[in-house]
């Protein structure tokens, strides 16, 4: 059984839908990529799994359940309760995120807090803003050790130093007493990773962990994550827009577009036979050293704002070069078994 099984995850902020029915699985010890451009819903997906989205006041109407009930004649179609206004920044989350047999989305906040930081942990994008500027590095590590492993005082400090050592920070005992601003960007990201792995989580979610870093540091951080995954058997959900990162670290990839998975495959398969035009477009817009210097890049035209709703057709259609009439005739389904995609014109692309 998969360690994490995300099923039909939907997240809406008021009227805006950020994640529109995302499903994927992460197996023990595997590295799974969630790829897409800004705004495709990949970060929101990770925050929803972690239970870190500000809670909205309602859930999106469980359409299917209500329809099924009324069809079975159990209850007459009840008058819909007045749609409550979603709070200004609250997110309405539905679907399931089953982690080791438990649906994280239906856990009460207190139980979710016990799991966050211990069973599943997260590394964030911007290492400077993600560390508290007025609290020492040591305290920021030991507070999680104290919370989930009950370590205090010297014991906690020693363990924190071990953790820093393990993520490759020299002179860890001195660093424990320092503040985030005294560390370089790469070091700060290592600290965030140390915090995330402090309680040996079974699932680590990394949200663009290398985006804010220099290229050389990026490679080091990826090496470190890879190493942790291999030695600890941790599953890693890697959120990124960088296909280079995907190629370097992932076992499987899910490509997201406009809140849905449009293609999902093992990493070699995806790079060898990209099927969805969006994936093809992403790969085409990466600069390549093996092509001539005068070979132009082929960007994807339009922007992610040019969407139609998935239920009316393929959301990528307005930007797609191979768009056909069939593309906007209703919702495209995911097809395939190990390599799945959501394109009705797939034959043509392949």
């Amino acid at each position: 059984m998969a360690l994490l099984e995300v099923e039909d995850l939907r997240v809406a902020f008021g009227a805006a839908t950020a994640v529109d029915g995302v499903s994927f699985t992460v197996d023990q010890g595997r590295v799974v990529g969630l790829v897409g451009e800004s705004g495709c819903g990949k970060s929101v997906t990770s925050l929803a799994i972690m239970g870190l989205l500000p809670r909205g006041r309602g859930k999106p109407a469980p359409v299917q359940a209500a329809a099924a009930e009324s069809a079975a004649g159990i209850a007459p179609v009840a008058p819909q309760p007045k749609a409550r206004k979603a709070s200004r920044s609250g997110a309405d989350v539905s679907g399931r995120a089953v982690f080791d047999g438990t649906d994280l989305l239906s856990l009460p906040p207190a139980s979710m807090r016990r799991r966050r930081g211990s069973d599943l942990a997260m590394v964030f994008q911007d290492p400077l803003s993600s560390l508290n500027p007025v609290v020492t590095i040591g305290r920021q590590i030991t507070e999680v050790l104290q919370r989930h492993r009950g370590l205090k005082g010297d014991k906690a400090n020693r363990e924190a130093a071990n953790l820093l050592d393990r993520v490759g920070i020299p002179d860890p005992t001195r660093r424990l007493k320092e503040y985030p601003h005294q560390l370089s960007g790469g070091m700060r990201q290592r600290v965030l990773i140390a915090i995330a792995v402090a309680c040996a989580p079974r699932l680590l979610i990394a949200d663009e962990p290398t985006t804010a870093l220099d290229v050389t540091i990026q490679a080091q951080i990826l090496e470190l994550l890879k190493d942790l995954v291999e030695t600890e058997g941790t599953a890693l959900l890697m959120i990124t827009h960088d296909l280079g990162v995907v190629a370097g670290i992932c076992d499987e990839v899910n490509v997201l577009y406009s809140g849905r998975v449009v293609e999902s495959a093992p990493v070699r398969e995806l790079f060898a036979r990209p099927t969805h035009p969006y994936t093809v477009g992403l790969l085409g817009s990466i600069p390549r050293l093996d092509l001539g210097t005068h070979e132009p890049l082929t960007p994807i035209r339009g922007s992610i704002a040019d969407v139609i709703r998935w239920k009316d057709g393929c959301a990528f259609a307005p930007r797609c070069d191979r768009v056909a009439a069939a593309c906007v005739e209703g919702e495209p389904a995911l097809v395939g078994s190990s390599h799945v995609h959501r394109c009705v014109m797939a034959e043509e692309v392949a």
Partner: protein, 335 residues
């Protein structure tokens, strides 16, 4: 932290020196010279000459300034024109009342304002937020003397719940230690004095706290709203920390920086602004003394008062700066 402290102390002395220059210049610039202000209109020329001589006004300006500095350092602020007693003594007699009142008002403002501002931010957009924001607007708008009078009418006269004048009930014996009656009562174990002084303190302190309370609520709300949205608060949340830890260590420690600044400034303005409240409640602090001094053009007394207020502003600012250093490690290392 030591280097930072030393640096702040050096800055403090520069500020004080500048302050003394300003005061001296003001004293020199009094229309017609101080002797016209200090002597009755029918004073003879000899009287004036004698006063000029005694004030050292015939010396060169820089000598006068140095002598002025010397006097100030010795706390020799001259004698009050109306009472004839040394200004320093007059102020020392009255300052504790003002300090006690200001501190009490500040305790109310901080004790209610910070939690209320925090709640308003957390419950943003709810009735509680709305009530806190509009309540603080009202707090800023109501003139203190009006609020003071209303409190007096309602709680002292109509309901007869609280005393409305003086600092202690008459006939109560007390031992003076710091001059802050509540504190003195607690120190000496005269708990009846402490209790009585406390009751006398409530109405004036509430009246005086209305504006600082409103400001603290607003600043706290804005500052907490800023901090809640920060990535590091999300990180803290992702660690599964208990809400109390997130609130204290991650939200409030960062949100306190602007709040502390404002508290320092407000406290300074309370010392200076207690005048009205003190007179409504016959509290007998510096306020009434200054009011009288203004009416009677008692320049030495006014100068003494300004000096005290200015010095307390500077010192409060130093305390704010130092607590900044404690709260924010980035301030400490900044060159």
């Amino acid at each position: 932290m030591l280097r930072y402290t030393v640096k702040r102390l050096l800055q403090l002395s520069v500020a004080l020196l500048g302050l003394s220059l300003l005061l001296f210049a003001w004293f020199k610039a009094l229309p017609g010279g101080p002797e016209n202000q200090m002597l009755p209109e029918n004073a003879t020329l000899d009287d004036r000459a004698a006063l000029r001589e005694s004030l050292g006004l015939n010396e060169p300006v820089w000598v006068q300034y140095l002598e002025f500095l010397q006097r100030v350092v010795r706390l020799d602020l001259g004698s009050s024109l109306s009472s004839g007693r040394p200004v320093a003594t007059e102020l020392a007699d009255r300052l504790p009342a003002t300090i006690e009142l200001s501190l009490a008002a500040m305790v109310i403002a901080v004790g209610i304002g910070i939690p209320l501002g925090y709640l308003a931010a957390r419950k943003r957009g709810t009735w509680l937020d709305f009530a806190a924001v509009s309540g603080s607007l009202i707090g800023i708008c109501i003139p203190v003397f009006f609020l003071a009078a209303m409190l007096k009418v309602v709680f002292a006269q109509e309901l007869a719940l609280l005393p409305s004048t003086f600092r202690l009930s008459s006939g109560l014996q007390y031992t003076d230690v710091t001059g802050l009656r509540v504190l003195d009562g607690l120190i000496t174990g005269e708990f009846n004095v402490a209790g009585d002084a406390f009751l006398h303190l409530i109405l004036p302190a509430v009246a005086l706290s209305s504006i600082p309370l409103a400001v603290v609520v607003r600043i706290t709300r804005a500052s907490v709203l800023d901090v809640i949205g920060e990535d590091y608060v999300r990180t803290a949340d992702s660690k599964g920390l208990k809400p109390a830890v997130i609130r204290g260590r991650h939200v409030m420690r960062n949100a306190m920086l602007p709040i502390v600044t404002v508290i320092g400034l407000l406290l300074g303005s309370l010392f200076a602004g207690a005048v009205l409240t003190e007179s409504v409640f016959s509290f007998g602090g510096v306020g009434s003394f200054v009011y009288q001094a203004t009416q009677e053009r008692d320049y030495p007394a006014l100068m003494g008062f300004i000096l005290v207020i200015a010095v307390s502003y500077v010192v409060l600012n130093l305390i704010v700066d130092l607590s900044y250093g404690l709260l924010d490690p980035r301030v400490r290392v900044r060159k």
